[in-house]
């Protein structure tokens, strides 16, 4: 038997050891390299990898929609819709005329204009059209034209067109609410954007098998259900448009509110605008809801509040009478009545309102100062100031859900002011004090409902994305603006105003006897920015109510600088009130008296 060849065995072992050693060295080299890559340079490579793979972006929340009342239904008046921007990359478009001819049948417009845009040089992005509908988007993409693409973007859409546009406001290009409800309730409507932070593949699809992925879904904005009555709003806007032309005004604002809840049923201004094309508006003033943002001197419609305050203090009675000298001299200035009022004679509370006696309103302030006398004192000024500011809440925003609400202006009861008597005499008949239509309506509502000042509101309820409904209950701001019977005393006085005008030939101020309708005109001088008042320029205002057994609706009309002859309150404000009151009665919005 041959012995094993030890030389061969030794060589094999050596070879094995050599390769083993080599393998070990290679593995050690790999190991060291891996150690450097994965441990020493971990931070660098981790960051580099994450910068490429980790995607972090926001998921936008859907903005809440806005709805309005339509009989027993609630219907949307502001919705969201994804619309598309059509763009072209001129570099890829070899035959602009042919491409333009292809897209015109889908998107409309002018082929030459599109071709011209596609000829633009030194750019890779030209917008051809905006706000394409989803079907237009699909049809354009189906054409498969190189260099033509679309981008989706969420827009607010308004199924009712420009209806209530100034109350609603709009959403700007940055997704922020501007004016109206959109501005005031921007936070609620916006919701909360979601967030995705995840390692993704090359297409941006999150890879679930990765530690630390975050996906936070968005919380969509609340649905806001307004108190606006859609058909009432539509009819009000139609009336304002007609009267704007008839009275040749610079603008008209009006509102209809429920005095027992503070809910606004209709609120409009003319001129108005289309919120879906807000960017084309040349005069930004039309964005404002004038009924809330524009405080003016209301003129004699203020006498309803002066009368209420005097009645509440017990310094006058509804049947009080006084000798009207037809003028008072206060701080060296004359406060006079108009010639048609018949000069100096015995007058009463009803005639103060029916004939709109400035001397009568001043007399009421005198009674607040010192009953039975004819002088204005600090006591009367402080009392009237207290009623205006603390009872009727003038000179401060009402808190309605609207952007840019005006606080108005009530002059301070500064007894060191040498003209304070005159200043306050003026406020008693609505000059030198500034109110919005809403402030006037809310204050009168509190008188008519028995003394409760409800915060005016445009929101009936809000519905959260979770479906939870939050009803906006009437909010009592002031429990005792006037005594519970003052409204009952004021109602016949204001009805008398309506009857008086009807008897004087304003035939349209006739209303069926099973309804109660009362009102008060106001013709206010317009202050110059530099001081003093314009001559022959007036604002016409009207404040009134319509109801059956009790006032159901308070109506306020501000007619800005009407261009027709006659007293602005009577000839420009009053017809609008009449139209609105008839509209409410004719459309059965008002419950007639239960007994004649």
């Amino acid at each position: 038997m041959a012995l094993p060849n030890t030389n061969n065995a030794s060589a094999t072992i050596k070879r094995v050891r050599f390769w083993y050693g080599l393998l070990t060295i290679v593995l050690v080299v790999f190991g060291i390299r891996l150690f450097f890559l994965q441990v020493v340079d971990y931070s660098h490579y981790h960051a580099a990898a994450l910068s490429d793979q980790l995607k972090q972006y926001q998921i936008p929340a859907d903005r809440g929609i806005i709805e309005a009342q339509d009989g027993s239904n609630v219907v949307p008046i502001v919705l969201n819709q994804k619309l598309y921007t059509l763009y072209a990359d001129p570099v890829y478009i070899k035959h602009p005329n042919q491409v333009a001819a292809k897209i015109v049948p889908v998107i409309g417009g002018n082929a030459n204009q599109y071709a011209g845009l596609m000829h633009t040089k030194n750019t890779r992005y030209v917008i051809l059209a905006k706000k394409l509908s989803p079907s237009q988007n699909q049809r354009v993409l189906a054409l498969r034209i190189p260099g033509i693409g679309t981008q989706g973007q969420d827009y607010r859409v308004y199924p009712e067109g420009s209806l209530a546009s100034q109350v609603l406001g709009f959403v700007d290009g940055n997704g922020k609410g501007q004016y109206g409800i959109e501005q005031a309730l921007n936070k609620q409507l916006s919701g909360k954007a979601g967030q995705v932070k995840a390692v993704t593949d090359v297409n941006g699809v999150p890879l679930p098998a990765t530690k630390g992925n975050i996906e936070q879904p968005p919380v969509n904005g609340d649905t806001v259900v307004t108190t606006l009555d859609l058909p009432m709003q539509a009819q009000m806007e139609k009336i304002l448009q007609q009267e704007y032309k008839k009275t040749k005004s610079q603008g008209i604002s009006a509102l209809i509110m429920d005095p027992d809840t503070g809910q606004i049923k209709a609120m409009a201004n003319y001129p108005t605008y289309d919120p879906s094309n807000y960017q084309n508006v040349t005069n930004p003033a039309v964005f404002q809801n004038g009924a809330v943002t524009d405080a003016i001197e209301p003129g004699s419609s203020m006498k309803t509040l002066t009368t209420s305050a005097a009645l509440d203090q017990g310094v006058i009675q509804p049947n009080s009478s006084f000798y009207d000298p037809a003028h008072w001299v206060i701080n060296g200035f004359n406060i006079t009545d108009i010639a048609q009022d018949g000069g100096a004679r015995e007058q009463n509370i009803a005639s103060i309102l029916a004939l709109s006696l400035n001397t009568g309103a001043t007399w009421m302030l005198m009674q607040m100062s010192d009953p039975g006398h004819t002088q204005i004192t600090a006591k009367g000024i402080n009392a009237w100031h207290n009623y205006m500011v603390n009872h009727f809440r003038l000179g401060q925003p009402t808190g309605i859900e609207q952007g840019y609400e005006s606080a108005g202006y009530v002059p301070p009861a500064n007894m060191n002011d040498p003209s304070i008597d005159l200043r306050y005499a003026n406020t008693s008949f609505g000059q030198g004090v500034q109110l919005t239509a809403l402030q006037l309506g809310a204050a009168l509502s509190s008188v008519l409902n028995g003394g409760t000042y409800y915060q005016p509101t445009l929101v009936s309820e809000t519905i959260k994305a979770s479906g939870q409904t939050q009803v906006n209950k009437p909010k009592v701001v002031e429990k005792h603006t006037v005594g519970p019977n003052i409204g009952k005393e004021l109602i016949p006085l204001m009805q008398n105003v309506v009857t008086t005008y009807h008897n004087e030939g304003f035939s349209y101020m006739s209303f069926p006897s099973n309804y109660i309708v009362g009102g008060k005109t106001g013709t206010a001088q317009v202050a110059k920015p530099t001081g003093g008042y314009y001559k022959n320029t007036y604002n016409g205002t009207y404040v009134g109510f319509v109801g059956g057994d009790k006032p159901q609706y308070v109506i306020v009309v501000f007619n800005i600088k009407p261009g027709i002859p006659g007293y602005a309150g009577s000839y420009a404000g009053q017809p609008v009130f009449s139209d609105l009151a008839h509209m409410l009665i004719d459309n059965s919005y008002v419950t007639p008296k239960t007994s004649p």
Binding site: L23, I77, L79, K82, P134, D201, P206, P208, P231
Partner: protein
């Protein structure tokens, strides 16, 4: 007595004092260092493969989720469009200008009913 101790007693009969005993054992086959290394590498590869399979499988769900989310977004978009169309069809302007409305005979009220 346990089962194992009974076996031990049985065996002792064949291996008494001064007796040689021969035990035939199969030669122990040991894996060499290379085989060990290769086995370890293969095992590591298998484990890696298993891990990759699982990760890929999990990530596939990501694509399914993404597709479903896309489908959800499309349906929501369609829903929005339908809502808008519905609201437009029911709008006051459209109702007022509809063929049905145009076919109505205008009637001006001659007066409001008195009680």
């Amino acid at each position: 007595m346990t089962y194992s101790s009974s076996l031990a007693m049985g065996r002792s009969r064949f291996s008494g004092r001064n007796q040689n005993s021969v035990v035939f054992r199969a030669p122990v086959r040991k894996l060499g260092p290379i085989s060990n290394t290769i086995t370890l590498i293969v095992l590591a590869c298998l484990l890696g493969l298993l891990y990759l399979t699982q990760v890929t499988k999990t990530n596939t769900f990501g694509y399914q989720i993404s597709a479903l989310q896309q489908q959800q977004a499309n349906l929501q978009s369609q829903h929005q469009n339908l809502e808008v169309s519905s609201a437009r069809l029911q709008s006051l302007d459209r109702a007022q200008n509809s063929t049905a409305a145009k076919g109505l005979v205008p009637v001006s009220p001659s007066g409001t009913a008195q009680p």
